[in-house]
């Protein structure tokens, strides 16, 4: 009975052993996040938005007169970084920062009309990006993914 012989050495295609990485959560979290970020960026860029800026607009609309410290906490960014974001958004006429009455420390944030208009465009682009991202997942998988991400994020 003819035993299967060892095949002749094939022309060596440079092959990379990816095994050390492909079961690492950290690695795939990085790649998935980057893919998400890029997809979002592509849609938002033409509008002059970034994921971070869109987050601000979304939460300011949902929470009119929110203070900066609270907004930073909700976005999970540092207040010092939010300051810079807001300064630019205000400069561009997308948000307003009004001193809280009776407390000249705190700023109350609101969208301007231009901010609301841009936000609507941003939401559309964001929804398209989101659809694109989840295109390869069944709805149930997407839900499970969100749950898992929330847990890992420590929400």
């Amino acid at each position: 009975m003819a035993l299967p012989r060892r095949l002749p050495a094939e022309p060596r295609v440079e092959q990379t052993d990816l095994a050390p990485l492909d079961d690492k959560l950290g690695f795939w979290l990085r790649l998935a996040q980057q893919s998400g970020f890029d997809t979002l960026q592509r849609g938002l860029g033409p509008l002059g938005l970034t994921p971070g800026r869109l987050g601000v607009l979304l939460l300011v609309e949902a929470n009119p007169d929110i203070r900066q410290a609270l907004l930073a906490e909700a976005l999970r960014i540092k207040p010092s970084n939010l300051t810079v974001l807001l300064a630019a958004l205000e400069q561009e006429g997308l948000i307003r920062r009004d001193e809280e009455e009776g407390n000249r420390r705190a700023n109350r944030l609101r969208l301007t009309e231009a901010g609301r208009a841009l936000l609507r465009q941003g939401e559309e682009a964001e929804a398209a990006a989101e659809r694109q991202l989840a295109a390869r997942l069944r709805p149930a998988d997407r839900a499970a993914l969100l749950t898992a991400l929330r847990r890992i994020a420590g929400g």
Copy 2:
């Protein structure tokens, strides 16, 4: 029969409406990635490693004599950024870059003994971080998460 009366207005706790963000893949990908990165960083930092540097060591060990371009592709980073990483690792005596014989363009990468030793420590720290990250997930959920992340990453 006493109807339940409207409760007196409670002392207003500042509450934030997070609804606009909490079903957004992009947002939770960012937070989860950051959590993963921080967890890894905490473990690797004391060793003088970062997630990126560990990735290099892992793949160089698994693929001795790999060229930089191929390694960059496997790690999904740009060759230009890999150059900087490698220069530092070589400086610290963790890897060697040898010209390919008969092709003075290409560099062949190998771990030094010190590199292998450090990698072993890094792997331990990485495994601990990985356990910590997945602590709140059932094994099946972790597997499903990896699958979903790979799809989103476009693997």
